[in-house]
């Protein structure tokens, strides 16, 4: 397997709330391989954004890392000083966040916002910075001459999102993390944006990690998938392994709930029940109240994420009985 660019080891993240602490990320270990397109998939509220925020050290004030390690190219991110972290952020790992629609200054033209991002990090001329900005805008499929002198409100939501992606690439980061980058866009715009991301990945060879609750978002472009359920990673593997050879009932349920990926519309069936509260998660395997393979043992033993060969890991006590039909 490719060298991991990010290695998460036994990560535990909690939020302080009135009732005490909710453990939103519970003992998560994950490797994000360099140069590949990894998707982190799970229902809303399962802790995906929290993992991203832990990597970038941008957790909200009531959130903290209780335990664990996060390595970037083998270097422990959690031991970096604050100033190091700040420089690190955009230069090594750039991020496109969920509510990116409002992440441009409304009273500055787009070109200026891109140029100043370069100028605040590198000693190049304004002209060079503008050239680079234009090239990147072109790369994401925008017409630089149209966009550079526009204010954010003058372009569409899809274009804005592309501008933000171009902006994220300004400092040649080694990795791009996208957290639900297509939310709030219409389906067609979503489709083209995903195409653009896929193209970028191929062209630049940049490591991508995309977080989404929607499997259909990543089916075409991701090559590695991690499935998350209620604060835990339950299955990780290459995309074909996950899609056609899954050994986890939650993954299979998730895929079956989306008609366009596998099976036809008549086979579409949502997973019964609701995700558990993270304040008081179920004992043993957290999926057991909703799982159709549950046995007594599932209520008592917490399944570990372990390798089952083929760079495929799963966290199910009965994994060998479970297959994609």
């Amino acid at each position: 397997m490719a060298i991991p660019i990010i290695t998460i080891k036994d990560l535990v993240v909690e939020y302080k709330v009135r009732e005490g602490a909710i453990r939103v990320v519970d003992d998560v270990s994950l490797e994000v391989p360099k140069g590949r397109f990894t998707a982190l998939i799970g229902e809303s509220g399962c802790g995906k954004t929290t993992i991203v925020e832990a990597i970038l050290n941008t957790l909200p004030p009531n959130g903290y890392i209780r335990k664990g390690e996060i390595l970037f190219n083998g270097k422990n991110l959690l031991s970096l000083k604050e100033e190091e972290q700040r420089r690190f952020r955009w230069k090594k790992i750039a991020t496109v966040f969920q509510a990116a629609q409002n992440s441009l200054n409304p009273i500055k033209v787009i070109g200026e916002q891109m140029v100043e991002t370069i100028l605040d990090h590198e000693s190049v001329s304004k002209k060079e910075a503008l050239k680079k900005s234009s090239n990147l805008l072109e790369l994401v499929g925008l017409e630089p001459s149209r966009v550079v002198n526009s204010y954010p409100h003058e372009i569409s939501g899809g274009m804005k999102q592309k501008v933000i992606i171009a902006t994220s690439l300004l400092l040649d980061p080694e990795m791009l993390i996208l957290d639900e980058p297509t939310t709030a866009l219409d389906l067609i715009t979503q489709f083209y944006l995903l195409e653009t991301l896929g193209k970028l990945h191929k062209k630049l060879g940049i490591t991508m990690m995309m977080v989404t609750h929607d499997v259909s978002n990543v089916a075409r472009h991701a090559d590695r998938v991690a499935i998350m359920y209620a604060g835990k990673i339950v299955e990780v593997g290459d995309i074909d392994e996950i899609f056609y050879n899954s050994h986890h009932p939650y993954t299979i349920g998730l895929l079956n709930s989306i008609p366009s990926i596998i099976g036809d519309l008549s086979k579409k069936k949502p997973i019964p029940g609701l995700p558990p509260s993270l304040l008081d998660p179920p004992s043993g395997c957290r999926f057991h109240p909703r799982c159709s393979y549950t046995e007594e043992v599932c209520k008592n033993i917490v399944p570990e994420l372990k390798s089952i060969g083929n760079e495929h890991l799963t966290a199910c006590l009965r994994w060998s009985d479970i297959t994609t039909e």
């Binding site: 409002n102 409304p106 009273i107």
Partner: protein, 330 residues
Amino acid sequence: MMTSITKRLLVSFVTIFLALSITFFLTRKMPGDIFYTMALDKMRTEGIPFDVAYERVMAIYGMASGEPLYKQYFAYLGNTIRGRLGTSIYYHISVNKIIAKAIPWTVFVCSISIFLGFIIGSALGTVIAWKRKTILDPLASAYASITDATPSYIIATILLVIFAVNLKWFPIKGAYSVDVTPGFNLPFIWNALYHATLPILAYTIPGIGGWILTMKASAISVLGEDYVSAAKARGLKERRIAISYVGRNAILAPFTSLAIVFGSMLGGATLIESVFAYPGMGFFFGKAIGLRDYPLMQGLFLLTIGGVILATLLADFLYAAIDPRVRKGG
């Protein structure tokens, strides 16, 4: 955009017209007919019968008593539109002349004060919002509530007593000394500034507090915007984020207030100018009210309203100039 300009101009026009009319009818209904008092005065000083005195007073002010009210009203409208505001009862010169002399002083003092207050106040407000949790925050809040609760004439009087009467650092009254020649020369300007210092302070001291609060509130709300956290995530320099991300966006809202404050300055200075006997609009307003010099009152009142309306209009256009979202009418 064009239609909205036309609409705004129309609204302004109607407002001015209403103001004119209300001024006319209100003064006519004021308790204690001023002409009556003046006629009594004239009767005594000139030894003429009351009726004659009354007729003469009315004639002087273009209010021939026999005229029906509507005719007087139209005459008044006509005069005002032609820019004739009548003659001051007390000063015996045209109201236009008095205003022309008073306006520069008020504009001088007020514009300096408003700018100073706005710049200092909004800079402090931004810093307080930006830094959070510094000792500056409670200090500024206390300062703002104290200066806001203290009537301006008390601030003016305190300044006068300390710095003019006791310490004698600044003059007690007036706009300039007799030994300088008014005009565009350094000694005069210097002297005028010297005289204006205490009035400016009296204005600026409470002004700063208000702008601190306004700007702080605005900046705090901008700090919560996604584009600020995104700018931080991009690793932009602190200074740039503070000035061109937070500052420039946060100032949009207070900016409209600034224009309105500017517009209201022509009428807003009465008490301060009276304390310092500073010959601006407010000073004459005070005099006009005290002496029931209502042609003067009427003229000053009209100008005040005109100023506010003009400023509101200006605010809209300026706002469009600094906020690109408004510029395109979107």
